[in-house]
């Protein structure tokens, strides 16, 4: 099966090379190469699906340096992430076929090449079985995505965003490299198979864990390394944002899982607590910032940070259970994590693609200039509604299942043998619930301001709906959101071999025991969820309400306007704005944000209200670091005097010092 997977990856690279060949032939690239890439993604998803329950397969590719081939391994964990990459990539590619427009910026063929190399390198990352292959794939992924982010490099903000992204990606890559250096434990064997055989002391295992957390956290957007994410995601073209947010962030989660549960055998309880705390902080931070954003893509980027936080918290919980030997519960937490990986990949890609269609139709990203688009773009609107429901964790969509599973696993923490943790973790669970609720708030704002109400600008009335390619791509992703939500047991069957590989337990047996329609992760008495019944219930209730209103109310409508209650006419300007909708959250979470507000004076006839929201981390962490580096560089710059005798004096003093050292 691994041969098929490699063939598929090679096909992606081939499509990329064809893109270079057809550099400026727009029609060829858009109508043939991108759909071809999507088809290849579908093939990858099928290959991965059939590889999921099988035993691990290895392959050695004789490329790279002599004596240092690429070791590759296809096991359940990599197959699961390949499934995500293939399935989400297929939808995004089909969308991209209709999305990219002819015009300025990177030529379409080059874009196609970068895009497919990006996909291929992501697939290689999850296949790699030695540190060398992993780092090569990881770096090509970072570089390909960097060039995709800066596709529109004539804009200075986009260049800045790209630089910040590249910088943090490389700092993270250094940490990952160091982590592998610790993991190989002086054996000189950098294959993962060699690393699995090492048994590290608790100190070095902790060092490896912390380095992995830092390195993969930088890629995932963990606090406080998240600053690149809200800059880079909005800067990229929408299909690329979708791919980065929906799929690339998951490779970081993959790396963390691979290191924590496969390469390291030791699990300390405080690792889990650290991850839990960091994940929770990330989630809360992300969701609060998401609610106060006014740019639709930035809002989604912050929402991605929130989801990454939830994933990290789930991994942390899994580690905690694992360190106390409670493998069944660890499997539950990891199932929640993997389920959320899948569901976030689909709904966040869908939402980013939707913003792309809106952007094309209106050339507006600012929520303050949008509104009422459901009437003009019904396809995009209704499909986005699916993504919005999944994202806010409403049944019967996919987001609900993962969040429900996560909260279920929190309910078992009283079984932990540590009284301190027993008191501490229910608070965490409560905060997770808060995050889920706030995510719903952010999504209501996102959908409501863009699609409901009246258009805030006149030209929105001429907005056109998405094209057939874009519709097809979004439909595919929306279908996954619904399918994952309605048939969670099927997905759990796929996740089962993965958790079995990582912690030795799985949920499939319990899930199968209660039938395909009912999800009961532990026992049916304790908790169960039947999405189909839920859907039927919702449909029945809505139909009933509709009919009742029709029957009993609409018959007696009396239309009249005796009083206008103070506003005889209503303009779009009177609607709640994005700022207004987020204002309560901004008030409550004021200490989280750094606000700069200019209020107009009461006498001003053309009042202008401006608010700039900033991140504390930028001012507390990043600016001091950059100032420190600049100061150091200045001090080093003093060495440059321009006088030959001073330069000679430097080497003279160095020589004397060295001689002095030699003599001792």
């Amino acid at each position: 099966m691994i041969d098929w997977v490699l063939l598929v990856i090679a096909a992606w690279i081939g499509v990329g090379v064809l893109g270079i060949a057809a550099l400026r032939q727009f029609k060829l690239v858009a109508r043939i190469l991108f759909p071809l890439g999507g088809l290849i993604g579908l093939a990858l998803a099928f290959a991965a699906l059939s590889a999921l329950p099988r035993a691990p397969e290895i392959a050695i590719l004789p490329i790279g340096l002599p004596q240092l081939p690429f070791h590759l391994r296809l096991d359940s964990l990599s197959a699961f992430f390949l499934l995500i990459i293939g399935a989400a990539g297929a939808g995004i590619s089909v969308f991209a076929a209709g999305y990219f427009r002819q015009g300025a910026g990177t030529p379409p063929g080059l874009l196609c090449c970068e895009y497919h190399l990006f996909l291929a390198s992501m697939a290689m990352v999850v296949l790699a079985d030695d540190a060398y292959a992993f780092m090569v794939a990881w770096e090509s992924m970072a570089l390909a995505s960097f060039f995709l982010v800066t596709a529109n490099h004539k804009v200075p903000e986009i260049r800045d965003a790209g630089f910040l992204y590249l910088l943090i990606a490389h700092i993270g890559a250094i940490a990952i490299l160091l982590c592998f250096g610790v993991l190989q434990a002086n054996s000189g064997d950098y294959t993962f198979a060699g690393m699995r055989e090492q048994s590290l002391s608790p100190f070095w295992a902790s060092a490896a864990f912390l380095l992995a957390l830092f390195g993969f956290g930088a890629k995932a957007g963990m606090l406080p390394l998240h600053v690149w994410l809200p800059e880079a995601h909005p800067a990229a073209p929408s299909p690329v944002s979708a791919l980065m947010s929906g799929v690339m962030l998951k490779t970081a989660i993959y790396g963390l899982l691979r290191v924590c549960f496969d390469l390291l055998h030791l699990h300390l309880w405080w690792w889990g607590v650290t991850l839990l705390a960091l994940g929770l902080a990330t989630a809360l931070f992300g969701v609060v910032f998401a609610t106060v954003q006014t740019d639709m893509k930035r809002l989604l980027a912050y929402s991605s940070i929130e989801n990454i936080g939830l994933l990290l918290a789930a991994i942390g919980l899994g580690l905690l259970f694992r360190s106390y030997g409670m493998n069944a519960l660890a499997a539950l937490a990891l199932t929640a994590c993997l389920f959320h990986v899948a569901s976030h990949a689909f709904f966040k890609s869908l939402l980013f693609l939707g913003t792309g269609s809106v952007l094309h139709a209106t050339s507006e990203r600012n929520l303050g200039h949008l509104g009422g688009l459901l009437r003009y773009m019904p396809w995009v609107g209704w499909l986005m509604l699916v993504g919005v429901f999944a994202s806010s964790g409403l049944p019967p969509f996919s987001g609900f299942v993962s969040e429900w599973l996560l909260l279920q696993s929190f309910l078992f923490t009283p079984g932990l043998p540590d009284p301190f943790l027993n008191m501490f973790i229910p608070i965490v669970a409560a905060l997770i619930a808060l995050v889920a609720a706030l995510a719903g708030y952010a999504m209501v704002k996102f959908f409501g301001i863009i699609f409901l109400g009246q258009p805030r600008e006149e030209n929105l009335r001429h907005a056109h709906d998405a094209g057939p390619w874009e519709k097809a791509g979004m439909l595919w992703l929306a279908a996954w959101c619904i399918a994952l939500g309605l048939l969670p047991n099927l997905m759990i069957q796929f996740i089962d071999p993965v958790t079995r590989m990582m912690v030795g337990e799985g949920l499939a047996k319990q899930a199968a025991a209660s039938g395909w329609w009912l999800l009961a992760p532990t026992s049916i008495e304790r908790a169960s969820y039947g999405p189909v019944f839920f859907l039927l219930g919702i449909i029945a209730a809505s139909t009933l309400a509709f009919l009742l209103v029709r029957l009993f109310y609409h018959g007696h409508v009396r239309r009249s306007a005796p009083w206008d209650c103070g506003h005889p006419w209503q303009t779009p300007r009177m609607q709640d704005t994005a700022e207004g909708f987020g204002q309560p959250i901004r008030q409550i979470f004021e200490p989280f944000l750094r606000l700069q507000r200019t209020l107009p004076s009461p006498a001003d006839t053309k009042p202008f209200y401006k608010v700039v929201l900033n991140d504390h981390f930028w001012h507390w962490l990043y600016l001091p670091i950059s100032r420190g580096i600049e100061y150091l560089a200045r001090q080093v710059g003093r060495l440059q005097q321009g006088r030959i005798s001073i330069y000679l004096l430097y080497s003279f003093i160095t020589l004397l010092f060295m001689l002095f050292l030699v003599q001792r």
């Binding site: 321009g642 006088r643 004096l649 002095f660 003599q663």
Partner: protein
């Protein structure tokens, strides 16, 4: 006889050190070149003496090469250079000669201290002179640092090479012939290139004072 010649080697070494001090404090360019030639001659003489005592024949070739290069060719080139540049009678203003000499003495003490453990390991008859060789090297380096004009700096550089050659003979009976030939060629080429540079510097700044090069610094 051998004892006498060993004493002779020590004498030559002392002369080389004194010449190094003399060059460090010399202000006239012409005299500087004379002193340099003299230093070269002394190095040749000491090499011949070592070769005679130890019966190392390749050292004779080294001595002949050095004689040709350091005592005839390079001094000739330098003379021509200062005539063409018209700096034959130039006098350089040196700052604070006593301080420089005092630092030089400190350097000599330091190098003797440094050479002591190395000389113990060496089997050469001239091992006592290693400290002097290192001291000469450091003094020539000092000279390059303290000079503001281009020609004396070049002489400092060449004198550094002399000291290295002397160190090699006294510690290990000289370097392999190939290395020596290579270094000799390097020095020659270096002098030629530096000569060209001097012309360029003068053309650019109407002076050979290298403090003008400070203007090239980027702000």
């Amino acid at each position: 006889m051998d004892n006498l010649i060993t004493q002779l080697i020590n004498l030559f070494a002392a002369v080389i050190l004194m010449l190094a001090f003399a060059m460090l404090s010399q202000r006239r360019i012409l005299t500087l070149i004379h002193l340099f030639t003299l230093q070269g001659l002394t190095v040749v003489a000491s090499t011949v003496a070592v070769a005679y005592v130890t019966h190392q024949h390749h050292l004779y070739y080294s001595a002949a090469l050095t004689l040709a290069l350091k005592c005839f060719l390079i001094p000739y080139l330098l003379h021509r250079l200062i005539n063409r540049l018209n700096v034959r009678w130039d006098i350089e203003t040196l700052i604070n000669i006593p301080t420089i000499m005092l630092i030089g003495i400190v350097l000599v003490v330091f190098s003797f201290n440094l050479a002591l453990p190395i000389a113990k390991l060496s089997a050469s008859i001239a091992r006592g002179t290693l400290g002097i060789a290192i001291a000469c090297f450091l003094l020539s380096f000092m000279m390059m640092i303290t000079r503001a004009k281009a020609v004396p700096q070049v002489i400092g550089f060449l004198s550094m090479e002399n000291a290295l050659f002397f160190a090699a003979t006294s510690a290990t009976y000289g370097m392999p012939m190939v290395v020596e030939l290579g270094i000799a060629l390097d020095v020659l080429v270096g002098v030629l290139i530096l000569g060209v540079f001097m012309f360029q510097i003068r053309e650019q700044f109407d002076s050979l004072d290298i403090s003008h090069l400070e203007k090239l610094k980027e702000d």
